[in-house]
């Protein structure tokens, strides 16, 4: 059985991510101990709250995450967890991210559209990747966010239209670090399919 570690650095609903992965047949450990990462087959970086607080809370994990990524094993960042993978964010003043995927986190521009984007929007899948195996183009997934990731096409796995086209999902150059701006654990059966794909990558 694949062992997945969900990094617990504070607040939020981790139970759904855990149950979704268990649904996919994985053994799941929610952990505050960086040492647990070493033995994991896959790591989830969840995320709610503010970017700068999350980056402060993740400090004890920094070394282990970097080593883990270098080993080639898969990491999935969800929502704020995906934003944390990037180079920097302008939320709450410019703050450095983990810089595992090049790109920046910026706020949605003022427009008629409401911010946060809250609800179900459709994905345009831009690249083949095991994470999206069996996921149809146009699939609806659940988003809640006020900031979005701005990166280049080579690091964009899927995009989404909310007034502008933004990166709904990112990947590093090696292909083992992926991020979803949406919540797969809250996106019904199609989201569960993605979590299963992630477990299969591990």
């Amino acid at each position: 059985m694949k062992k997945i570690v969900i990094i617990d650095y504070g607040l939020g609903n981790l139970r759904s991510v855990q149950k979704g992965l268990e649904h996919a047949g994985a053994e799941v450990l929610i952990s505050k101990d960086p040492a647990d990462i070493e033995t994991a087959d896959g790591v989830i970086l969840p995320g709610v709250g503010a970017f700068s607080d999350a980056m402060k809370n993740i400090v004890p994990f920094l070394g282990s995450i970097t080593d883990y990524v270098a080993s080639g094993k898969p990491v999935l960042g969800i929502c704020l967890g995906m934003q944390m993978l990037m180079t920097s964010s302008e939320e709450g003043g410019l703050t450095e991210g983990l810089d595992l995927v090049p790109g920046n986190v910026v706020r949605f521009p003022r427009s008629e559209l409401k911010v946060p984007q809250m609800g179900w929007n459709s994905l345009i899948i831009e690249q083949d990747h095991p994470f999206y195996e069996g996921v149809p183009n146009g699939a609806f997934v659940y988003f809640v966010h006020s900031y979005y990731v701005d990166t280049d096409a080579s690091h964009t796995l899927a995009s989404c239209d909310y007034g502008i086209d933004f990166a709904a999902s990112v990947v590093n150059s090696a292909g083992n670090v992926i991020g979803t701006q949406f919540h797969p654990e809250k996106s019904g059966d199609i989201g569960l399919k993605m979590l299963k794909n992630f477990v299969n990558m591990c």
Binding site: L11, N13, R15, S16, K19, G119, Y142, G188, D189
Partner: protein, 275 residues
């Protein structure tokens, strides 16, 4: 394109079986409607976009029942869950989110202590703090010139007064002014229920729904009065709501969530049809 959300609401109260869904007409005359977890699963299968659980007993015993219901639901249903009813402390919010809810809905406690909204949204993020506003039409506009006066369907004028304790207590607060205040305080969404419509099957209260949707930047969930898919359509087109919440029409089998979505899709409203 972002879709309009259809949200079934499950009113939950304590009984010997450990939680039963009920739904009332104008918050009284409760009828039993079934086990909450079974209903949650059924609505998920029909393509519900989110679920709302309201603990209408909101007692100490009710809270532990609710935690159990949230946990059992979150273990099987992978769409967003909002929980409301009697939430008045940061610890309440923490407990409910930890059980598997994604958002909490705060109603009376927000009116009694507005700073609570700021406190909760700072700690947990705006995205998980929904302020529920119950309101009732007040036709006394003459003595209430400082309120937001709206024109009703038949041309009469009214302002909308915020009510609390499940509609039992008027507050004197103007709904539009109060909604702007809770947005400033960090609320991420508003769940608007008009007591004049709740449980009536007459459709959403359009004048207040439209006004809030136009005045605020955060999403508005319209609630109260849905009897058929056309009412949802009017809530989105005339009321400009971002989401529509309904209870009775789903619980008692008049329409499935899918029926409502297909009717909306046929009229070019963007919806997520179950895939």
């Amino acid at each position: 394109m972002l879709t309009k959300r259809i949200i079934p609401c499950l009113d939950v109260t304590l009984d010997a079986a450990g939680g039963t869904v009920v739904k009332g007409v104008e918050f009284v005359d409760l009828k039993k409607a079934g086990d909450p977890v079974d209903l949650a699963k059924r609505y998920n299968e029909q393509g519900a976009d989110e679920l709302v659980f309201l603990d209408i007993t909101a007692s100490h015993e009710g809270r532990s029942t609710m935690i159990d219901v949230i946990e059992r639901t979150a273990d099987e249903v992978f769409i967003p869950l909002t929980v409301g009813g009697g939430i008045n402390s940061v610890e309440d919010v923490r407990q409910i989110l930890r059980a598997g809810a994604d958002k909490v809905s705060i109603n009376t406690a927000a009116v009694k202590n507005p700073v609570f909204i700021r406190e909760a949204s700072t700690i947990f993020g705006s995205q998980c703090i929904v302020t529920a506003i119950d309101c009732r039409r007040n036709l006394d506009v003459e003595n209430n010139q400082d309120k937001t006066i709206l024109e009703l369907e038949d041309g009469t004028l009214a302002w909308y007064e915020v009510v609390i304790y499940g509609g039992r207590e008027p507050t004197g607060l103007d709904t539009v002014q109060w909604a702007k205040k809770v947005e400033e305080l960090g609320s991420g969404e508003i769940l608007l229920t008009s007591m004049n419509r709740d449980g009536t099957y007459d459709g959403f209260d359009i004048p207040i729904t439209k006004k809030l949707s136009e005045e605020l930047d955060i999403p508005i969930i319209a609630s109260g009065g849905v009897g058929n898919p056309e009412h949802m359509y009017k809530g989105f087109v005339d009321g400009k709501a971002d989401a529509g919440l309904a209870a009775s029409i789903f619980h008692f089998g008049e329409y499935t969530v899918r029926d409502v979505k297909e009717a909306l899709k046929a009229k070019n409203i963007p919806v997520r049809l179950y895939s």
